[in-house]
Symmetry: C3
């Protein structure tokens, strides 16, 4: 079971979701993939999740919760894409996973818990459904007959910063594989060259590189790209040939 949320690890949210999973699927291992996905931003999160989920083997179950307004209307969904399962809100969070999959099928969740709080569907709805899938049960819902949960208008890659890591490196929503090998990235009044990795450059030099999960990432050798260049989630960039 793999968790992808904007809930943080410290407070009660991640812990209560894990308590549900451990109770319903004793002995299951739970991975915190991201607990600091872009807060309330399913669009940026969608590009991040698609890049990182692809690294996991088929059969993996992702419990993904990133929502802007707590308690708003959106269908709760389940998605099976290239053999991996995804459970969470139908607000675009799984759009890029679904679009890039060779094989995908999605369901609206019909199952209702005995008690559904207004503000914590992660614990009351999504975690139990993820646990059911982990136990090998059929998806408790009906196949999506429409595209209400899709975001066809979103681009295939996103020319924005979608995540800033612990070290200040700034991930973009661009897959490095779609960029020409000599492509440069213009961001914050700088034009950055590509490098293989940090240590190929002198200290304090900003550059971009293909990170270990295939995203174009902006970094500074022995520095912090976020502070040095003023990058935050949402900062736009341009591809320069």
């Amino acid at each position: 079971m793999i968790m992808f949320t904007d809930f943080g690890l410290l407070g009660p949210y991640t812990g209560q979701m894990k308590a549900v999973l451990h109770q319903m699927v004793p002995g299951t291992s739970i991975i915190d993939l991201f607990a600091d996905a872009p807060v309330g931003n399913p669009m940026a999160s969608a590009y991040l999740l698609a890049a990182y989920a692809a690294w996991f083997p088929a059969g993996s179950i992702f419990l993904g919760v990133v929502e802007p307004g707590v308690g708003g209307a959106r269908p709760p969904v389940m998605l099976r894409a290239d053999g991996r399962w995804y459970v969470g809100p139908g607000n675009g969070l799984f759009e890029l996973v679904e679009r890039r999959a060779a094989e995908a099928e999605s369901w609206y969740i019909d199952w209702k818990p005995e008690r559904l709080s207004a503000s914590f569907h992660g614990r009351d709805l999504f975690a139990p459904v993820a646990a059911m899938l982990a136990r090998g049960e059929a998806p408790p819902g009906r196949s999506c007959g429409d595209d209400a949960h899709r975001r066809a208008e979103w681009p295939d890659d996103l020319c924005k910063i979608v995540y800033v890591d612990h070290f200040g490196n700034a991930m973009t929503g661009l897959r490095a594989a779609i960029l020409p090998s000599e492509a440069r990235l213009a961001v914050a009044d700088r034009v950055l060259e590509r490098a293989r990795t940090f240590s190929d450059l002198p200290p304090s030099t900003p550059f971009w590189y293909e990170n270990s999960n295939g995203l174009a990432e902006i970094a500074v050798n022995l520095g912090r790209a976020d502070h040095d260049l003023g990058l935050v989630i949402g900062t736009s960039l341009e591809i320069v040939s």
Copy 2:
């Protein structure tokens, strides 16, 4: 096993406590409920713990450590309340759990470890005792014959902020169920109305609502209540009818 501490997750404290639990009870699952309980504040923590512990099933074992002066005098205690176990310092941390329980019994811990550090009873004393209880052993101590570990003078509900979460929402020490349905909360020169959940209100509007664990919580739709209203742990509030 459920952990409730003010130790954080990053440093060595939570990890060493978990190492003791895994060594003494191999295969046990450990939930981080709160690792950022109000620092050194057992009173605020007591109202938070009582609200969140009630969500867990009977048989759960809580390892709770929140202490103001490290190494000071207070009895180490065990409590069984409504079928749940609690192990930690007898400084009031479990007062509200005990007071609200239909059935409760408490013990002073008599067991002594081979080596007891002056500053880390969580690892050396409380974690091993929690592990003994998880293995089904009898509580290693004697029934509390007095009320030295109780805090009879504390109110049944606390008119203060007791926790600020990852999103800036501010939990109070008030159970929503004891408030009249039309009650308003006065805090930081504002008088807040009750709402069902975030998305029922326009963006940037502060309100209070019953959170998913029954506490009255102050929030701002698509905003941060802590920054917008200047709320911190300890901020007082008033109930206005």
Copy 3:
């Protein structure tokens, strides 16, 4: 399995390393000892790790990753010291563990993964090797015939702050056991006396004490030593008799 990194817990790095461990050694328990070791600072980290690793039983496997320049040249190593295993970069991170061990042997890692990213050896190289050791396999490499991974010039104890914890307490790289019992520590224009623990002193008084893992640590009763004294990782201190 015990993790000691500067990766943080929130982002994708710790989670992906744990995913490798769970996949290769199902059911293994994983302890986060430090996820906030001194960033990019293997020297400070080495004194911290040596103090904390000694608390764990023989047979423990440490996965340690702290590196200054990502992707730079250094041998990947395995070390067995007093029955505990260590896997990570040969950049001095394990120097103090090895030096203080009664019995130690080290290996260069020869094993190569199918796909080795330029920037995430923790996931692609070190985690799989730690998993092999956890499964009881022989160390996949050759015994170190040289001292290229050693740091003979580093002192036996480090007169610097090596870690600041969640509460603002500042750990030094000095083992308390090597200090005269009446030793004082001069730091930030103050000369600090030794105490047994926090509550032995009036509030707001800075002091030093032997922490629960044997390091000399600077603290302030009911205060934060980092803020009150201006201490950060790397701050120098002196032993005054």
